[in-house]
């Protein structure tokens, strides 16, 4: 491959166990992508174009979690042929909603769901990409925020550090001018969740669902105690932490703690 100064950088997008929503965010960047079209070559993105150029690729976006033995091999091949590898979305960065299987026996699901379970080859767990290969940057969210994706691509092209905050959703609520729903009585995961959605749910009078996973210093125990004080039973607290980012550090530990205390 010619050195980067003499050609456009190439972009590839890969999918593992996921719903495609994050890749669609990329397609949804149409206007912004037109601006980059001259600066970056989309070399391998089956959702956007049938044309696939051979690797290696300068920037690789990976969506989805690792759930099969085949996935485990494939991600290593992708890593070997990637310059910068960026994982996008809760599945790729935390294992996704499908990581709920990690608390159960996966064979039970296989037997219920498939008519011929003998053809199914799957792993016991759904795990984030970073459990398997080195990842250069993780973009959180279920789905990711389109603005953050554009920011990362722009930062790459301009050779600077992307601005991706790691503080709480509360900061976005306050900047946006949303009066705190938690203080008005609605339990909210915002204080322990990383910003990125621009405080979307509280702006519609809903508590935050934790789509962007744990913030930089998540005190999940203190927040859960406050939920309990607001009258939320232990099993519901456990379930709240166990959604799109169920398998990520602080959320996973907190959900386990309250599961043990269930059903009070």
């Amino acid at each position: 491959m010619r050195p980067l100064e003499e050609r456009q950088p190439t972009l590839a997008v890969y999918k593992f166990a996921s719903c495609d929503g994050c890749q669609l965010s990329l397609l949804d960047c149409e206007d912004e992508l037109l601006a980059v079209a001259g600066a970056i070559q989309i070399a391998n993105f089956p959702e956007a174009s049938r044309e696939v150029l051979p690797g290696p690729y300068d920037v690789v976006l990976v969506e989805g979690s690792i759930t099969t033995p085949h996935d485990e091999e494939r991600i290593h091949d992708i890593r070997r042929a990637a310059g910068v590898l960026i994982t996008i979305g809760a599945c790729a960065t935390a294992g996704g909603i499908q990581a709920l299987r990690n608390w159960k026996d996966v064979d039970d699901f296989v037997n219920i769901v498939y008519a011929n379970p003998q053809y199914i080859e799957t792993l016991e767990t759904s795990t984030p990409i970073s459990d398997h290969v080195d990842v250069d940057l993780e973009l959180r969210g279920c789905p990711i925020d389109k603005g953050q994706l554009v920011e990362v691509i722009a930062a790459y092209l301009q050779g600077r550090k992307p601005t991706i905050p790691t503080y709480s959703v509360c900061v976005e609520c306050k900047r946006r001018g949303t009066p705190c729903v938690m203080v008005k009585g609605t339990p909210c995961l915002g204080p322990v969740t990383q910003a990125g959605c621009n405080g979307l749910c509280p702006a519609y009078d809903r508590g935050c669902f934790g789509c962007f996973g744990p913030m930089e210093s998540p005190n999940t125990a203190a927040l859960a105690d406050q939920w309990h004080a607001l009258g939320i039973p232990a099993n519901r607290i456990s379930e709240a932490f166990r959604s799109f980012n169920a398998w990520s550090g602080a959320f996973r530990e907190e959900s386990d703690r309250w599961e043990e205390r269930s059903p009070v």
Binding site: V150, C170, K174, R175, G190, A222, Q226
Partner: protein, 371 residues
């Protein structure tokens, strides 16, 4: 100098609002929104939260009805006036490829109608920070210089208010163009005092009758009664030294076990002024933009220097915040950084109470000193 004092009825208040609007001000006042008393544009007293009040306590806020038609029968809401003077997000510079700055839209001329005494004190504190501490901030100055402030005295302190302890209310403090006192007797009257030349001009144009001494006395009584009904108190005697003396206290860890490091307290606080700068470039590289956004000492990035963040523990971040508010602000700006508005108490999702934490630290310092 003796400034004029007039008496108005509600219709007079409406004329005052209309007059400010006619003179080109965007009149912003407390309004009902999102289940709270926030701030919004108004064109008459009908747009105010007439007959509403709220119940506030640590980590809780509920709107409720009053039994009268009071215009100002509530305390402070979730947002402070800093939203307008020190906006949460503002483009401070924008330029094209040739580095020519692009013109940014000028801010509106605001009239703030219904600024509480603690909020007036907070604005004066931010004036000091942004205008009088050795440099002048363009963003703040362009919004503050022509702003017209109508201060309203308090007679219904909230459950988390402690301005009486901080010397910032419930009676008016200096700095406003006009000061309004509402008297909820059968006549439902308002005493309006001028506090500046601009305020005097507005009153003169309004052509209202001078207030009688008994009405002025009634307005003073209302404020005196309110001072006795504060939701919270704070003993500030020796507090400034106590907080720095307790820097190594184990209590900070105990607070940290409860604190979410969510930053709500700093964002809600009317005096907290910290902001971060983000530079960005449009994808085609044609336009560079510098944006200023509210930032907080509760974030890790805030204390990030080469090699890492200085304040990694929640204990060190809470300590930084409360010590700055109540102690080191004196060293830096010659006043307290807290005006006792109670927002950080009400709007903390887990109800951490600055008065309770400061009181505990003070008690600890006093007992260590005694032993």
């Amino acid at each position: 100098m003796v400034r004029p004092v007039v008496e108005l009825d509600r219709e007079g208040i409406d004329r005052l609002i209309a007059q400010l609007g006619d003179s080109g001000f965007t009149v912003i006042a407390p309004t009902l929104s999102d289940g709270t008393i926030s701030h919004g544009p108004i064109s008459s007293s009908q747009d105010l939260p007439v007959g509403w009040t709220e119940v506030q306590d640590a980590g809780t806020y509920r709107l409720t009805r009053r039994e009268d038609d009071a215009l100002f029968g509530y305390a402070v809401g979730p947002h402070s006036w800093k939203r307008f003077l020190h906006p949460p997000e503002v483009v401070v510079w924008q330029g094209d490829g040739g580095m020519t700055p692009l013109d940014l839209a000028p801010p509106p001329r605001y009239a703030f109608f219904g600024v509480r005494p603690c909020e007036m004190a907070a604005i004066s504190i931010q004036d000091k920070v942004f205008l009088d501490s050795g440099f002048s901030d363009d963003v703040y100055r362009s919004r503050r210089t022509d702003a017209f402030i109508v201060e309203v005295e308090c007679y219904e302190p909230g459950g988390t208010c402690f301005c009486a302890s901080m010397g910032t209310g419930p009676g008016a403090v200096e700095g406003a163009d006009l000061v309004v006192s509402e008297i909820l007797d059968d006549e439902h009257r308002f005493v309006v005092r001028a506090g500046s030349d601009a305020g005097e001009e507005v009153l003169a144009a309004l052509g209202a009758a001078e207030a009688e001494t008994d009405v002025i006395a009634a307005a003073e009584q209302v404020v005196a009664d309110a001072a006795a009904r504060m939701g919270r108190t704070l003993d500030t005697d020796g507090l400034r030294a106590a907080l720095t003396a307790q820097a190594q206290s184990e209590r900070w860890d105990e607070i940290a076990a409860r604190c979410l490091t969510c930053a709500n307290c700093t964002m809600a606080c009317p005096t907290c002024f910290c902001a971060g700068i983000d530079d960005s470039l449009s994808l085609d590289g044609a336009v560079a933009t510098r944006t200023r956004r509210w930032d907080s000492c509760f974030g890790l990035e805030f204390s990030y220097i080469h090699g890492g963040s200085l304040r990694t523990s929640a204990a060190s971040r809470y300590r930084q915040w409360i010590t700055h508010k109540l102690s080191t602000w004196w060293d830096q700006f010659g006043s307290s950084g807290c005006v006792g508005c109670g927002r950080c108490i009400t709007w903390c999702p887990v109800g951490i109470d600055i008065t309770a934490e400061a009181t505990a630290m003070l008690a600890e310092a006093r007992s260590e000193e005694a032993s």
